[in-house]
């Protein structure tokens, strides 16, 4: 398959982006430098193009019932203009995808990982029940994340919506820079910020309007590489790295979104068994105590024994140290446990730590 170009491809190239193929799309991985982009978001505000993500819509009398069946979190707790972080599992409790579910007046929207869009659609289609109208409208939407302490100030210049009234994980519909949009107070960086969905055909206009409005705050475009270092500092899971079909939500630390008491849902039986027996391994965050950068698939050791592996790792620009996420056998998952990461032919000291690695100062 040839990589697709989003409506913003030329805009990114003009901004100096290095474009890489991601989930079938050519997306900006970096504009000026990962560290610079990382700190732009930590210190002020940046904008990400995440239009490659998927938008699914559900309506009809049975939409709530269907989503309760297909997702882990309790959909009945949602009300219009509230969003929920949740996930889907297969019958054996393996994670199919993690996602955000948005509740409208008479419908729901699901934003899914770009790499899983086709798989998720097929999975949902396969389980679809009468009384649910289900459509994939991903190609109709652009999705931008404006993240950082100045995100609200930037976006407020472009909309009549009172953004200060939108609480974390709530959203509104309205006009942003003359475009019809939804604006959610969500993100993947650990900073305050918003995700804005709008008509894909008009995405260059909206993107440029936000760049212009943000100029006084030094807003810059941020690539997917810095998005990854930002999310790792928060220990946010990345599907395909930290979670996948071979991992269950309990060991992945997603027990808080797994509402086994809400009634039946796909994977519930298997998840209840894991909960009862106790997970044999846990996804932890660790920090290097010596020089070294952990990377995906590096082995984790404790006193000469292999106790797990790294699922995500990087050099943390904020901590100026190597940090990682990985599965370790219980009971080595408690904060303060000394571990070793095998980096090439060396065993480098690290420590399991409380996460997030980074705490925002405001």
């Amino acid at each position: 398959m040839n990589a697709g170009k989003t409506a913003l491809y030329d805009t990114h190239v003009k901004l100096g982006a290095k474009m890489v193929e991601f989930a079938g799309y050519l997306m900006p991985v970096q504009y000026r430098g990962i560290k610079e982009e990382h700190f732009k978001v930590r210190d002020s505000v940046g904008i990400f193009d995440v239009s490659h993500m998927g938008e699914f819509f559900f309506s009809g009398d049975k939409a709530l019932e269907f989503l309760q069946q297909m997702t882990l979190n309790d959909v009945s707790k949602l009300e219009p203009f509230r969003a929920q972080y949740t996930a889907m599992c297969d019958d054996s409790g393996g994670l199919i995808d993690d996602l955000i579910l948005y509740c409208f007046d008479d419908s729901y929207m699901m934003i899914v990982n770009a790499a899983n869009r086709a798989k998720d659609f097929a999975w949902l289609q396969e389980h679809l029940i009468d009384g649910v109208d289900f459509t994939d409208r991903s190609d109709e939407f652009s999705l931008f994340a404006v993240q950082g302490r100045n995100a609200e100030a930037v976006l407020q210049k472009l909309t009549d919506l009172d953004l200060s009234e939108i609480k974390f994980y709530w959203f509104r519909e309205g006009m942003v820079a003359g475009e019809k949009a939804f604006v959610a107070r969500t993100g993947y960086t650990g900073e305050d910020g918003f995700e804005i969905g709008a008509d894909a055909a008009r995405s260059p206009e909206l993107w440029n309007a936000i760049l212009e409005a943000g100029a006084e705050y030094g807003l810059e475009p941020i690539g997917l590489a810095a998005r990854d270092t930002l999310r790792m500092e928060m220990k946010y899971c990345l599907y395909g790295n930290d979670i996948d079909k071979s991992t269950n939500p309990i060991e992945a630390g997603l027990g808080w979104i797994t509402k086994v008491d809400k009634g039946d849902f796909v994977g519930r039986g298997a998840i209840v068994r894991v909960k009862e027996a106790g997970a044999s391994r846990r996804l932890v965050g660790f920090q290097m105590k010596e020089r070294g950068v952990p990377r995906q698939n590096y082995a984790i050791y404790k006193d000469g024994q292999n106790i797990g592996h790294v699922t995500s790792g990087t050099f943390s620009p904020s901590l100026e140290q190597g940090i990682g996420i990985g599965y370790v056998a219980v009971p080595h998952n408690t904060a303060g446990t000394g571990i070793q990461i095998q980096i090439r032919n060396k065993f480098v000291a690290a420590e399991v730590v409380k996460t997030p690695f980074y705490q925002r100062p405001y």
Binding site: G33, I34, D228, R291, V293, T314, R344
Partner: protein
């Protein structure tokens, strides 16, 4: 892309400056740009020997890890220990303060086979 004419190059994006039988080695401006922010350079020790084409060290960028391949066989006379605390010198001054090792060349014939600046540029752009 900055590719000084007076230096020699390898296909693995290293540059070599020869002075008598001493070679100073680093990575090219193109390579540092591709790697992005460099956060850690694993250096060999003084007195270690290198074999042309074999790895002698590692460069960690935020996103990736790359091996450094010896452009020439020889004995390490000096490693740039300034990089231990300031690995970003490889980004900011790849042909100057960001040099990586100096070695005593074992086989002068190997020097002849290095790429010229033109040949290297041609390879990068192809």
């Amino acid at each position: 892309m900055n590719t000084p004419k007076e230096l020699s190059y390898t296909a693995e994006h290293e540059w070599v400056a020869i002075e008598d039988d001493t070679a100073t080695i680093g990575i090219t401006d193109y390579a540092q740009g591709e790697l992005g922010d460099i956060v850690f350079v694993e250096l060999p020790g003084e007195g270690d020997s290198t074999v042309q084409g074999d790895p002698f060290g590692t460069i960690e960028a935020v996103k990736s890890v790359s091996e450094l391949f010896a452009p020439l066989s020889g004995i390490i006379i000096e490693a740039n220990t300034a990089l231990e605390d300031q690995p970003e010198l490889v980004n900011s001054d790849p042909y100057g303060d960001g040099w990586i090792i100096k070695l005593k060349v074992a086989d002068a014939a190997q020097v002849e086979k290095l790429l010229s600046a033109e040949e290297y540029e041609e390879q990068v752009s192809s």
